[in-house]
């Protein structure tokens, strides 16, 4: 042990300067800017800071930011679980390609992520704002409700929900055709125009795009590390697919999933470039928090600047909170995987 120590022990004249350099570097590049956010936010006193946070536009921006983040998280968690299940549990052709395609949005500049949705749904884009004629509305409804019927039919075949009244084949037919027919007769929505760009749906799309890989790339290694044995055991013991997922798969991957959600959330709340392009920046309507901060900062006067920093300190607190949770989850996940290894060994 003594020998080990002496080989790795660097002399003090190397150790001290290197530690000082690292502390100074992180101090100047990370801690200084962070402290500056709080200092500038409180420059004109707590009153101004609170007034800035309580402004109706700020509250609206906060609500919109959270809405977009929540929808993006739900979409990406669904995708993450599905793709991790397919990649970590099955072999199929093109798996390597699919795995590398997941990371694609990371290499796309945020502004381009916004641009592609403007090109699709903008006033002069390929599709443009969705204008729905009565016929198109009916067709859309038929497809959407038919899809709902399909999902229900799948759920039914998994759990035999309707087994008391129908045979599986009849249940499937009734569910799909019934729902599709319902959509054909009765429009569920009376929307005739869906504005996507410069409205909330565009913000959600852009946010979902930039946070696309986070959950999936955390889940895949976790599920690969855990292995399919417990799930196979559950199936052998007669669990339905849903039971297996709910009682085995989900508890097994919960730390990895939470970690992915955390990263996804941090990025979704802070996203600026992509949202900036698609939001149209309508005050009190399509401003998210980062965009609201930009507007305040570009505005004139000390109060505006202090307000921008006050709201920034809110986001900075959120970032620090994210780091705390991240450290906790990393620790928890490591612990969990070690337990798994121990379990397998015994």
């Amino acid at each position: 042990m003594e020998f080990n120590k002496s080989v790795r022990e660097d002399p003090w004249y190397l150790r001290v300067p290197l530690i000082l350099f690292s502390v100074l570097f992180i101090g100047i590049m990370v801690i200084g800017p962070m402290v500056n956010v709080f200092a500038q936010g409180l420059e004109l006193g707590l009153g101004v800071a609170f007034a800035a946070m309580a402004h109706p536009h700020a509250l609206h921006a906060l609500r919109l930011t959270l809405t977009a983040a929540v929808i993006a998280i739900v979409l990406n968690v669904t995708f993450g679980i599905a793709v991790a299940w397919a990649i970590a549990r099955f072999r199929f052709r093109g798996k390597a390609v699919l795995t590398s395609l997941i990371d694609l949005p990371f290499s796309v500049s945020p502004v381009i992520a916004g641009l592609i949705f403007v090109l699709l749904f903008g006033a002069y884009g390929f599709i443009g704002p969705l204008e729905l004629s009565p016929v198109a509305q009916r067709i859309g409804n038929t497809i959407i409700l038919g899809f709902v019927g399909l999902v229900l039919a799948w759920l039914n075949s998994e759990f035999n929900l309707l087994s008391f009244a129908f045979r599986p084949r009849w249940a499937r037919l009734i569910l799909v055709l019934g729902f599709a027919g319902l959509g054909c007769i009765q429009p569920v929505t009376d929307l005739d125009r869906i504005q996507i760009v410069f409205a909330v749906p565009g913000i959600v799309l852009a946010t979902a795009f930039v946070t696309f890989p986070f959950v999936a790339r955390e889940l895949i290694p976790v599920m690969e590390a855990i292995g399919p044995e417990e799930e196979e055991a559950a199936r052998t013991l007669g669990a339905s697919g849903w039971q297996m997922f709910w009682y085995v798969t989900l508890p097994n991957m919960k730390w990895g999933l939470l970690y992915g959600v955390l990263l996804c959330n941090a990025r979704a709340i802070g996203e600026f470039g992509a949202v900036n392009v698609v939001s149209g920046k309508l005050a009190g309507r399509t401003d998210t928090l980062p965009i609201y901060i930009e507007k305040l900062y570009q505005g004139f006067g000390a109060v505006q600047t202090a307000s921008a920093f006050a709201i920034s300190s809110l986001l900075c607190c959120l970032a620090l909170l994210t780091l705390v949770f991240k450290t906790y989850l990393e620790w928890k996940n490591r612990q969990y995987l070690q337990e798994q290894v121990k379990k397998e060994a015994s």
């Binding site: 080990n4 660097d10 290197l18 350099f21 690292s22 502390v23 570097f25 992180i26 590049m29 990370v30 200084g32 800017p33 962070m34 500056n36 500038q40 979409l75 669904t78 995708f79 599905a82 793709v83 299940w85 397919a86 099955f90 199929f92 699919l98 590398s100 395609l101 694609l104 290499s107 796309v108 500049s109 945020p110 502004v111 381009i112 641009l115 592609i116 090109l119 699709l120 006033a123 002069y124 884009g125 390929f126 998994e158 399919p228 799930e231 199936r235 802070g270 996203e271 600026f272 470039g273 900036n276 980062p290 901060i293 900062y297 920034s312 900075c316 970032a319 994210t322 780091l323 991240k326």
Partner: protein
């Protein structure tokens, strides 16, 4: 485990089908739309949009500032990773946790705080006035200064100029090199260092010929990740750069300007030109992505195989 046995688990069709559907709708089709829009221009129009001097200057600026920031991060990141893995000192855990702040902090917040810090009245900026064109270092590099008039001029301003862009790109790239190198350094086996030491290698020789080669793949991967991040960065840069076309304007800003520019002759916005510039930037980042993948595959070869 055979493929047949794995299929015993349910949900393959549904999970893969849904994944492909979501991937196509959200990512692949919109990205393809960008290239299709760009290809609706004729070749000469495309070339005109893409090789416009302002656009070329923007690519160059983005390329050079990202690479400089990534290289600086590679250098400092190696030291910080070394310190975090090898040494014990008070506050180490805190320092380690703060490394990830640039990933969690919204880029717009980073942008305004850096713009403020390095502004003429900011904590750092007020001590950096010598870098301004009328300060002594700035003057030295300006057209009238000795260096600028004999060799080449350099924009040394601490705010608004390329230097400011490098600083924020360094900020957003800090975690990548450190987080790539850290695990490899932590797993590095002491036996190899002992072997080197017992064969008479000095500490420096051990580092140079034993440790560094093992770190190299992870180090390069971190550098490439930091570079890729810098290439696409927008939120923080627009606050610190003054955005003079041809000088301190990055491609994303140019793309937004094209999107908002109305073409009166045709009665539409210049979507195609925006798409053309975007497709050049996208191609550049895809090449970087492929490079990163190759690097990662290469670095896997270096992992000690337990046999």
């Amino acid at each position: 485990m055979t493929g047949q046995k794995r299929r015993a688990l349910p949900g393959f069709g549904l999970s893969l089908g849904y994944s492909l559907f979501y991937l196509s709708v959200l990512v692949l089709i919109p990205l393809a739309g960008c290239f299709i829009k760009a290809s609706s221009l004729s070749w000469s129009q495309f070339w005109h949009a893409v090789s416009d001097p302002v656009a070329v200057a923007a690519y160059k600026l983005s390329f050079s500032t990202s690479i400089i920031a990534a290289l600086l991060n590679a250098f400092t990141g190696l030291i910080v990773a070394w310190v975090l893995v090898r040494y014990e000192f008070p506050g180490k855990k805190l320092l380690d946790a703060l490394i990830d702040l640039p990933l969690a902090l919204p880029t717009a917040v980073a942008g305004i705080t850096f713009a403020n810090l390095y502004g003429s009245e900011g904590w750092f900026g007020q001590h950096l006035m010598f870098l301004e064109p009328d300060g002594f270092v700035g003057h030295w590099f300006s057209e009238d200064g000795w260096f600028g008039s004999t060799l080449f001029t350099l924009d040394t301003r601490a705010r608004g100029g390329p230097l400011a862009i490098v600083v924020v790109l360094m900020f957003v790239g800090i975690p990548f090199v450190i987080r790539s190198v850290q695990p490899v350094l932590a797993e590095f086996e002491i036996a190899q260092e002992e072997a080197a030491a017992s064969l008479g290698a000095s500490r420096w020789q051990t580092f140079r010929y034993v440790i560094l080669p093992a770190l190299l793949p992870a180090w390069l991967t971190g550098l490439a990740l930091a570079y890729a991040r810098g290439l696409g960065e927008y939120g923080s840069v627009i606050f610190v750069a003054d955005g003079i076309p041809g000088k301190t304007l990055i491609p994303p800003v140019l793309i937004i300007a094209k999107l908002e520019e109305f073409d009166y002759a045709r009665g539409t916005f210049k979507y195609e030109e925006a798409a053309a510039i975007a497709s050049v930037v996208l191609t550049m980042s895809f090449i970087t992505l492929v490079l990163i993948n190759l690097l990662e595959r290469w670095s896997k070869k270096f992992e000690p195989s337990e046999a």
